[in-house]
Homo-oligomer: 423 residues x 2
């Protein structure tokens, strides 16, 4: 039997698979466009499913088009230990977001086959449908339906801007499966992914041990003052909605700074009315995105934001009164990952000599939904300049190889290594 | 001969003329829509020109459609002492902006006729073409062409959004005159207008003695940071273009506050890129409008703005570096009005017992262009809540009457009262 702790995947083959998949829907600037359930998504699925079959995985497709490739274990009654991600992309997406997780899992299967490693529990490689959510919402559709975050019917009925339905597009690309949703229980779930942020690069670490996902609160804010002509209206007689609103926009950022390192605060969209060069704005609407990994801290940040709204409203923040309307749009609680699996990822990185650090995911992933139904963890590797959802998205082969090796070790540690066919 | 200093106009007739003109292009909310050179503008012109003819004024129309109604003086060789304004409106404009100045001038003519007052210099009532500039630019088109601020051809060639040219629309409404532009010299010019701002109301004054117009500097600013995903990007690694830009937006207001009472600073339009709820803005563009009545102070404000841009650029204003691009869009110098005429307006208000105060105009007016070629003054009266360019625009009959009386006295003081036919 091979020394399991020394088993490594084939980094060159992993890279080649990533580059081969990236040829489907390649964009001129080096990125990828394979929108969920488009013909190109179908071609991508066909390519990867072909590879999965070549690796002797047993393929199941469920009614929302999720693809499960099972590598049998010696104890078929055990729930599978699974990995996976997605291969749909943003309209101007990169080669690595999602694809790395799927092909790292494939590379693990190929390696185990080559090395004759059997596991007690079955292993499973999953391709989730429509993680990106740019063509059809809800986002993270396949994993969300699987985890019963929303009804299957909601997902199947979703339509794109041309009025095409998920249900029909699944048929068109040949992935309208018959397995129920959810089809079966997953014992454990580990997903590898590029970080999509700048932390690992800034800290010069190879592996991010993901401890959970940030909680999120989305708001719409509207500040109403008094529209007036910019020329004739002296400063003391103004109720400039934009000047007032800038105080809240700054508060959003400064609240997040006060809850470092995991606080996040972003104003992403601003709408000024009437938007004329020589008219003092009478109304400003903007979005607020607050995040934290700790539910209590996130509640504190929420309270601070509401206090700032009151201080702006009563005139104490900018010297005059304005109306402030705060509307709650959406709310996700922080999702801690399985401490047992998180520890296993950390140990694998440590044993294999990869620099590593704990990190939280601020972006949504299929793993965040999976964590609501089964023990889950994620493995992050750096991406260049933290850039993702962009054709410039890039990652280094040695980092991807390291991430796949940690995935290999983590899956084996939990599936139970029963036997090697090449002693 | 009547006691000239006691002559007063007929306030009820002035009000009735305003209400009669306001029936043409009346809007459901009580405002007016007579866009420049539209059929409704033509109907408005016809109504007022009819009144002018009834008041025995000699009508001349020039090539840009400006209408001059002359009341002869005893010394025809003297340049006329003129008054006037415009009767075109904003799309959702009010009954008083412009129309008050024209109909106050008409009321002066009617009163002098009734009282048999002759003047040495001719008097003239002018209706300027397209002051508002909402359908055709340049704004203040008729007076601008008359004062040779831009070539006549520029004005005639201007097209609206439907591609219709000023030249053709003048013909269509019957106001393509033959007099050259400029047709003749104006000796002095006094324009009555609603304030379009809140100062007179706030100070409880009836007459604003306008000392000149604010200088104006328009800029486009662009702040470029780094676009990034709002979730995975920790606060210290961000280069949020919007958070950075809010510091400049606040600086614009605070610079103007530091140059009270005549400083003005406004950010009216804001454009955030990429404008997604969960993306940190990578680029923010916005407009800046700075004004002051004193050219040196306006230059100081400009310097302060440029300093703020540098401080933002080098990271000292918000803690990280961004690119700041400042683009000069337009620049008008402050225009002081004729001190002789300004004093005359003040004396008339004083003699007639109207509360009054010096004021500057922050808005553009035909008088501001006229001041570049001839001694000029303006008379302001309050408007309700300072609101203008709005169907809610309102003014009190007794204030309009007072303004027209001050106009009467000021014109007579400069035209020379030669004779009364009713001794």
């Amino acid at each position: 039997m091979s020394n399991i702790s020394q088993l490594t995947i084939n980094g060159e083959r992993l890279w080649q698979s990533l580059m081969d998949l990236a040829k489907i829907g390649a964009t001129p600037k080096g990125g990828n466009c394979r929108l969920a359930l488009s013909p190109l998504d179908g071609q991508g699925r066909d390519l990867v499913v072909g590879w999965m079959k070549a690796a002797s995985l047993e393929i199941t497709v469920d009614q929302i088009g999720n693809i499960f490739g099972r590598r049998p274990g010696r104890q078929p009654s055990l729930a599978p230990v699974a990995t996976g991600s997605h291969i749909d992309t943003q309209p101007t997406g990169g080669k690595f977001d999602g694809c790395f997780g799927v092909l790292a899992g494939l590379e693990v299967m190929r390696t185990l086959n080559e090395q004759g490693v059997e596991t007690d529990a079955p292993l499973e490689l999953i391709i989730w449908t429509n993680e990106e959510g740019t063509r059809f919402v809800p986002v993270m559709m396949g994993s969300g339906a699987f985890c019963q975050v929303f009804p299957l019917e909601t997902a199947l009925s979703a339509i794109d801007v041309e009025g095409k339905a998920v249900r029909d597009e699944l048929v068109n690309i040949g992935y309208a499966g018959t397995a129920p949703v959810p089809s079966h229980k997953i014992g454990k779930y580990v997903e590898a992914h590029i970080e999509q942020g700048p932390i690992l690069e800034a800290e010069d670490k190879v592996i991010g041990v993901v401890t959970g996902s940030l909680g999120l609160r989305w708001y719409n804010l509207t500040v109403t003052g008094m529209e007036a002509h910019a020329g004739p209206t002296p400063m003391p007689l103004r109720r400039d909605a934009l000047y007032a609103a800038t105080h809240l926009m700054q508060a959003v950022v400064e609240i997040a700074q006060d809850y470092a390192p995991q606080g996040r605060g972003t104003v992403g969209v601003v709408d000024v009315f009437p938007a004329s060069r020589n008219v003092i704005p009478g109304r400003v609407s903007f979005t607020v995105d607050l995040r934290h990994e700790n539910a209590d801290r996130l509640a504190d940040m929420d309270a601070r934001l509401r206090q700032a709204c009151e201080a702006l409203s009563d005139g104490s923040l900018c010297g005059y009164r304005v109306d402030v309307d705060l509307h709650d749009v959406q709310h996700f609680s922080p999702t801690p990952f399985s401490s047992e699996l998180v520890d296993a990822v950390s140990q694998q990185a440590q044993q294999r000599g990869y620099s590593h650090m704990p990190i939280v995911t601020g972006a949504g992933h299929d793993a965040v939904f999976m964590a609501t139904v089964t023990p889950t963890a994620m493995i992050f590797v750096p991406c260049k300049d933290g850039i993702s959802h962009n054709e410039m998205e890039d990652a280094r082969p040695e980092h991807l190889e390291a991430g796949a090796n940690v995935l290999l070790g983590t899956l084996l540690a939990h599936a139970g290594v029963a036997h090697s066919r090449h002693p």
